[in-house]
């Protein structure tokens, strides 16, 4: 009864957050199927895990595709599902499996940037094309024109350039809170951090991004 109440409220949150849920996964319909599958996997039918992968791989790649370089998506998604399998004993079922696996995906991406932290990846400077893109965005008078600019290749590259200058912690929080519009509570749950930590980091990360943008335009 209690678990059902939590599940319903969590679903409510998920339905309000399209960025973290996959529109192609009908969450309500899959919950009972997931429970059945998980029961079978726990009983030793390992091969049934492939059904869970098929069901959630688009959901996971959508999350990962927005966080790691394109050439690292396959291996990161791979790691997410292996982690999910190994950690299956910790899945209580109080939240939908999709939400749980999303949390693993977010944390795996955070770990990806944490392990690269020591590698001293050089941050390339903005090119003339990027500078021109910034000028065009600033010069745009209508929202439509601004939106049109956001879909250009340069937009993604400028975003990547700005994110590359943030710490892995700031990057993770900024992506969830400011770029995807998650609440502080949801972000804390997804990252497994305290509310206060997320709140402070969200503020600092936004300030850091603003400083980067001001210094370079």
């Amino acid at each position: 009864m209690c678990a059902r109440a939590v599940r319903t409220s969590t679903l409510g949150v998920l339905e309000m957050q399209p960025s973290m849920t996959d529109e192609t996964v009908p969450v309500l319909k899959t919950i009972s199927d997931d429970e059945d599958l998980l029961r079978r996997i726990r009983r030793g039918e390992i091969d049934r895990f492939v059904d869970l992968i098929d069901r959630y791989k688009d959901h996971v790649t959508r999350i990962i595709g927005r966080r790691v370089p394109a050439d690292r998506v396959d291996e990161t998604a791979h790691e997410v599902f292996v982690r999910a399998y190994v950690g299956l004993a910790q899945f209580s079922g109080l939240v939908p499996f999709g939400h749980w696996v999303a949390s693993i995906a977010v944390r795996t991406c955070y770990d990806f940037w944490r392990t690269r932290k020591g590698e001293e990846v050089p941050v390339s400077a903005l090119t003339t094309e990027h500078q021109q893109w910034i000028e065009q965005v600033l010069a745009s008078r209508s929202d439509d024109h601004c939106s049109e600019q956001a879909h250009r290749r340069e937009a993604a590259e400028v975003l990547e350039w700005a994110l590359a200058q943030l710490s892995p912690e700031n990057r993770a929080v900024l992506t969830l809170v400011h770029l995807e519009g998650h609440s502080i509570r949801e972000t804390a749950q997804l990252l497994g951090w305290s509310l206060i930590n997320v709140k402070v980091r969200a503020h600092r990360a936004r300030q850091a991004l603003r400083r980067i943008l001001i210094d370079n335009h």
Binding site: I46, F49, A77, H78, A89
Partner: protein
């Protein structure tokens, strides 16, 4: 000047947010699922043994805690019900020893 700067940054932020949301979902290479399943089959015995070790640790901790609890309760009951010599001697001592200002 400040307001203008804020407006400029806000414009850029909005464009970057939209750029983030507009990122296409990447496609996984063919055969990706089979490769993941291969690793999972490989990880399965390891995960089971880890579960087993974790289970053993918790079981041992539970048994140890129960033994400690039983021992503590037994000692408390025993010290309460048995003739309390130590306490008796202390009371006797207090009765015999005159107080400082007596």
């Amino acid at each position: 000047m400040m307001a203008s700067n804020d407006e400029t940054i806000a414009k850029l932020e909005r464009a970057l947010i939209e750029a983030h949301r507009a990122r296409p979902t990447p496609l996984l290479r063919p055969g990706w699922t089979e490769q993941v399943m291969q690793d999972i089959r490989h990880a399965a015995p390891q995960a089971e043994s880890e579960d087993g070790v974790e289970c053993l640790i918790w079981r041992t901790a539970g048994i140890a805690a129960t033994i400690v609890l039983i021992a503590t309760v037994s000692w408390a009951v025993w010290s309460w019900t048995s003739p309390n010599e130590g306490m008796g001697l202390l009371i006797e001592e207090l009765e015999v020893t005159p107080l400082v200002f007596d």
